[in-house]
Amino acid sequence: MSQIQERGSTHVYKVNKISKEEMESMVTRCVYEEAPFCNAACPLKLDVRAMLKAAAAGDFKKALLLYEKAAPFPLIVSAGCEAPCEQKCRLAERGDAVAIRDIEAAVSRYGKQSRLGTIFRTRKKKSVAILGSGLFPLFLAGEIEKKAYPLSVFCEQEDPEGFLRSAAAFLDEEAFRTELSRLKGKDIEFAFDCRIDAAFLEEKRQAFDVVCVSEAVLDRLVPGAAVIGELMFCEEEKLVSCRGEGVMAAAFGAKKAALTVDRLAQNLDPRNMRGSEDPFESRLYTDLDEAQALTRVPRSGAAYTEAEAAEEAKRCIQCHCEECMKSCAYLKHYKKYPGLLAKEIYNNTQIIMGDHQLNKPMNACTLCGQCTVVCPNGFDMAQVCASARRNMVSTDKMPLAPHEFALMDMLFSNGDAFLSRKQPGQDACRYVFFPGCQASAVAPATVKAAYLDLCERVDGGVALMLGCCGAICDWAGRYEMQESTREFLLSELSKLGDPVIIAGCPTCRKELAELTEREVLGIWELLDEIGLPEGAKGLDRPAALHDACGARGDARTQETVRRLAEKLGVTLTETPYSGDRAPCCGYGGLTAYANPEVADEITQKALERSDAPYVSYCMACRDRFARQGRESRHLLELVYGTDAGSPPDISEKRWNRLTLKNELLQELWQEEPKEMKLNYELRYTDEARKLMDGRMILTDDVIAVMDAFRETGEAIEDEDGLLVARRRMGNATFWVKFSIEGENAYLVHRAWSHRMNVVKREG
């Protein structure tokens, strides 16, 4: 049998570049990291969502810390906040928006101040002065102090109380005292009773790196001075100032002014590198069905109590988009949202030297396309992983080990087990039945019954082709193998006179339609047209229909299959995530080979949707579900009254394909198949058979080892008197532990393999 060349070396130091545009175009589709609507609407950039989460958990200290990050004087800001966030709250679409402003007020009132931020402070070198008083100078002082500049405030008032009162006389006494103590706790140097005139200003200009003035001071000393609103900067006078009235204008102005101060202190143009400052429209998607409490918690007094605020905060649904992660077990397994995972997988392909740590996640995606359907922006993880796999193959950095078994299986399907014949007695055939490799492997009797039925009831002759459509190498990213498979299948089809393909599997149908660039029929469509054969019978209890990922976006197939199920008398129960939104069974993308653990999680997730027996129309799905112990039937088994029974192991899957081929060759075409009998007896303990299935060791591999042993006599005898023989085949060495049971009989106890080659070393 043919072999697949292992990559030559780990010392490959080239990559095939992925353009930044290609990466960005995909990565930015994911909105997971987008700000929630409330955050985006807040000019002060308050993390409303996080604050509400902390408040809902009763952690008002943390909530206050978050609020103080955006508003250095929270009681003043909350008193004057116009709450643009509430207008954007998505809950308003179903009921009341969260009472964010009232919660803010409660957080400001009940939250304990944290002293953490001021304990270890390294002051910056450049110094800043603020001249004047009022809301803007107060907020600006708070912002600049946060940035750790040595700050001096010069005002005309006689003490801090006067300075604060000039800004926020509207506060009630308790709030005023709280904010006063907050102001006094800040690292600000105050000079009171100042007479601020032109000479004073000039003096401070000389003494400080950046000078900021209140609007009143600016108008008094530089009448008619123009202030650039975007920067809060009077360029001619090199003074930072603000125009505008009210708490919000002053608070937002102070944010912008503080950034300008930051830029000026570093001798940089204040226009550049400012990032996004203004409120914006968020692209986030939120599933509003998660919303439960739609009415506001009422206030018992003028303001929320701590408990009321926490209760109201609990109504926040914490807007976030996890549509794909909710439905896909693969994304859930890696606990990463697809934007990030895709970026890491792209980066993985660009590593010149070192470990490719994302190989495993890259090879664990089933490429089923469910994420693209459930994502509000059509994020396509399959495309990311498939192109990354091809990229790694192109630079010879793709390990063969995760996919070798599947690829060898494909070569077997299109080699020893391949069969292509015209219908007996027909010179030309209008159709060719292509059941697919898994159908012959899992349910050979069903394939045979289907073919005989098609021969009998379809006019124009039906040829048969047992083989693999090439999906395996497509999924593995082995584009060169895909090309040779394409050429092989095209040439075989041409020998049959290029008949219309009747696919038995939705994935084969898709692959073969792309390969031949012609329309390919599904056997379900033909059966819908010609009617069911005699004896076709559904299940006597309701079943869940599992849509195959190969039929995603193929409404005709999905409808036809449902119609067939109805004709069969199968009562279908509704399942979440059906039709285009169906999850993969775990076979797609070769996940079952590359990462059996994730594949099992995917299968379980698919089975979570219903307790009923599963009916599917892809044999791989049927097999995966049966392996998890669920009653699982392929639609064709019901149509032809066959039952493939319990799932075959990997060796039986090969055996089934070979025997089906031989049986058909003998019965339909009267050809003698190749002798498959061994000239010695080989038995296996149950444990050996189980081990072999888990370790992907075939009975054929064991036979090859035993053949070598019989030829050379080379083996080791261990302490227990058991023999161990080995043989290097392809890219692996296989070991078999056995006992001799009579003259020509052996009992296999264990088997293992490794890919490293071991040789004797001299010296």
Partner: protein, 73 residues
């Protein structure tokens, strides 16, 4: 004399026998080769025919983990 590096050592301690040659295996020099990398080891070897034995625990333990590490290089 330079100290020779071995990544792994198994001494058969006379418990294994070569079926073909009928002699006990000894601790001998061997080398694992994979993807253009080589690792000197000491494994049970037949002193007559040179059969190198890789026990199951080694194949599925150390060898497998090194294989995986190299595959992702």
């Amino acid at each position: 004399m330079a100290i020779e590096k071995n990544y792994y050592t198994i001494d058969p301690q006379g418990k294994l026998k070569c079926f073909k040659c009928g002699v006990p295996l000894i601790k001998g020099k061997a080398k694992f080769l994979y993807l253009d990398n080589g690792f000197p080891v000491e494994l049970p070897v037949c002193p007559v025919c040179g059969f190198v034995y890789v026990p199951e625990e080694l194949a599925l333990g150390k060898v497998l983990s090194v294989e995986k590490a190299l595959e992702d290089k």
